[in-house]
């Protein structure tokens, strides 16, 4: 296609929007509402996943060993576990370290009581491994694997927290996908209607184009551009608003609910928009473009 033809089609695409102002505005507004809702759900899901991940990183499996298991045997088990994909970190806690930790927690107020044990470590058989995972959803698999290893006496794990986090995360994702899917379907429907009206308004022009010998692609191009432009505007506006509002919300929570920031570690706006911006724009342009492709295909048969 020649540059002048591309320019002509672009010009006609913008003219379509202008001629069809009301419907174009309605489509942009609906698209904006959908992308805005999508953005909100995206922010919630991303932040929730971020918070879950933070919590997950703190959830550990503790593995205790049989009596008389040597340090080198513990080391071997630790190495074997650490090479697994779902394992992020393995920390070896020796019997001495376990006793020191116990003292700091339970004999903080009366250290003289701990003196009574002198060199005799009451937790001599409590050398253990703290295993941190990349994904708590596969905790059971890892536990099964560790149980099958030699020298293992006991495994402590936090099933309830892991299950709850995984389940809630899944629920939020499913609900978001369903709502977003519904909103996108509404957007496609509206864009399709706008383009269909544009086609009926330009019926005469299209008929003349056909008689003169215009190719189908030449006839369709302005409508595809119209859809894509509606998509660009309809997604850029809500994303801009979301950027502003998200920043304000983080600041507001930090100021008004300072103590919550320890638990609710929100993603920074730039970190969030690194993903949301391309997805939101691609979604808007994609819906606009493909919405008009399908409509043009249906209404502009040769």
């Amino acid at each position: 296609m020649r540059l002048s033809t591309i320019g002509y089609c672009l010009q006609q695409g913008f003219k379509n929007i202008w001629r069809n102002k009301l419907f174009s505005l309605a489509s942009m507004a609906t698209m904006a509402a959908c992308i805005f809702m999508f953005g909100i759900f995206f922010c919630i899901v991303e932040n929730f996943q971020h918070i879950v991940k933070e919590v997950e990183e703190g959830v550990a499996i503790t593995v205790f060993f049989d009596q008389d298991t040597s340090e080198s045997e513990i080391q071997e088990v630790a190495e074997e576990i650490s090479i697994r994909d779902e394992v992020r970190q393995v920390v070896i806690v020796s019997a001495d370290e376990a006793w020191k930790f116990y003292q700091t927690v339970y004999f903080k107020e009366a250290p003289e009581l701990a003196e009574g044990f002198k060199e005799d470590n009451p937790l001599a058989n409590s050398a253990n491994l703290e295993i941190y995972m990349t994904d708590v959803a596969v905790q059971q698999d890892l536990v099964d694997y560790i149980e099958s290893m030699d020298h293992i006496r006991k495994i402590n794990r936090s099933d309830v927290l892991a299950d709850m986090l995984t389940g809630f995360n899944r629920l939020v994702s499913y609900v978001s996908v369903a709502i977003i899917g519904l909103l996108l379907a509404v957007s496609v429907f509206l864009i399709s209607n706008t383009v269909a009206i544009g086609i009926s308004v330009r019926k005469e022009e299209i008929a003349i184009m056909r008689l003169i010998g215009a190719k189908n692609s030449f006839i369709k191009a302005p409508f595809l551009i119209e859809g894509a432009v509606i998509g660009v505007i309809g997604s850029a506006i809500p994303l801009g608003i979301l950027y502003y509002l998200y920043n304000r919300m983080i600041l507001y929570v930090a100021v008004k609910f300072g103590m919550l920031t320890e638990i609710l570690k929100f993603l920074q706006v730039n970190e969030l928009f690194r993903t949301l911006l391309p997805i939101g724009m691609a979604l808007g342009i994609g819906i606009g473009f493909f919405g008009s492709v399908f409509t043009a295909q249906r209404h502009l048969k040769v």
Partner: protein, 226 residues
């Protein structure tokens, strides 16, 4: 150039618009197609433009069998056929220049050539001065001239004119027909569908008479028998 062999066109409701037409129109001919309303004139034009498919028979244009033409090839085929209609079919939101240039843009002609071809065509139809005017600012005759310029700017082999003088007064009609004769003299095959008895009688060209979808007369240098 245009060959029809036993062409039949029936619509889905069973009505037969063309009931077995065979004709041969040579390159460079000027032909009138006359007949009452419902005689099949407009259907014939639509068949030649490949807007409709014949129910039976064969149509060949420039040696090409239209039945075998692929959908993709239709736009290219139509570029070789210019059309003018009774209602002009101009784009009301574009001026004279843009209406004519539109035909060239549609077939992806370089802008440089459009700038050369459009004024030349407007001069031919006598509207060079009015290139900035919009259709609503022109008389019926002037609008038909613009439509002619648009039909001719892509140098078609055939010009199909469906009642080109239907909305014009006798004087303007004669001017338009004079233009069509000039175009024909340049080598373009011209087919004019008309009701206008005076014009047919004045021009003394080949006349094909249709009635209820069949040819009832095909005479050279004939007049109109109403």
């Amino acid at each position: 150039m245009i060959v029809l062999e036993n062409v039949v066109k029936s619509y889905p409701n069973g009505v037969g618009a063309i009931n077995g037409i065979s004709l041969n129109i040579k390159r460079g001919e000027f032909v009138f197609i006359v007949g009452d309303s419902g005689s099949g004139k407009s259907t014939l034009i639509k068949l030649l433009l490949k807007e409709l498919e014949p129910t039976e028979g064969r149509i060949r244009v420039n040696g090409v069998n239209l039945a075998r033409m692929r959908k993709r090839a239709i736009p290219k085929y139509r570029r070789k056929i210019g059309c003018v209609f009774q209602d002009f079919r101009l784009l009301k939101d574009r001026n004279v220049y843009e209406n004519v240039a539109f035909a060239q843009r549609v077939i992806v002609t370089p802008t440089k050539e459009i700038k050369k071809n459009v004024p030349a065509m407007l001069s031919l139809v006598g509207l060079a001065e009015k290139y900035k005017s919009y259709p609503r600012q022109l008389s019926g005759g002037e609008q038909q001239r613009v439509a002619l310029a648009r039909a001719l700017v892509n140098s078609p082999d055939i010009l199909l004119a469906d009642e080109p003088t239907g909305n014009l007064d006798p004087k303007t009609s004669r001017e338009i027909m004079k233009l069509l004769e000039e175009i024909n003299a340049r080598g373009t095959t011209v087919l004019v569908v008309t009701h206008d008895q005076d014009i047919v009688n004045t021009l003394k060209r080949r006349v094909i008479r249709l009635q209820k979808g069949i040819i009832v007369g095909d005479e050279r240098e004939s007049g109109y028998i109403g």
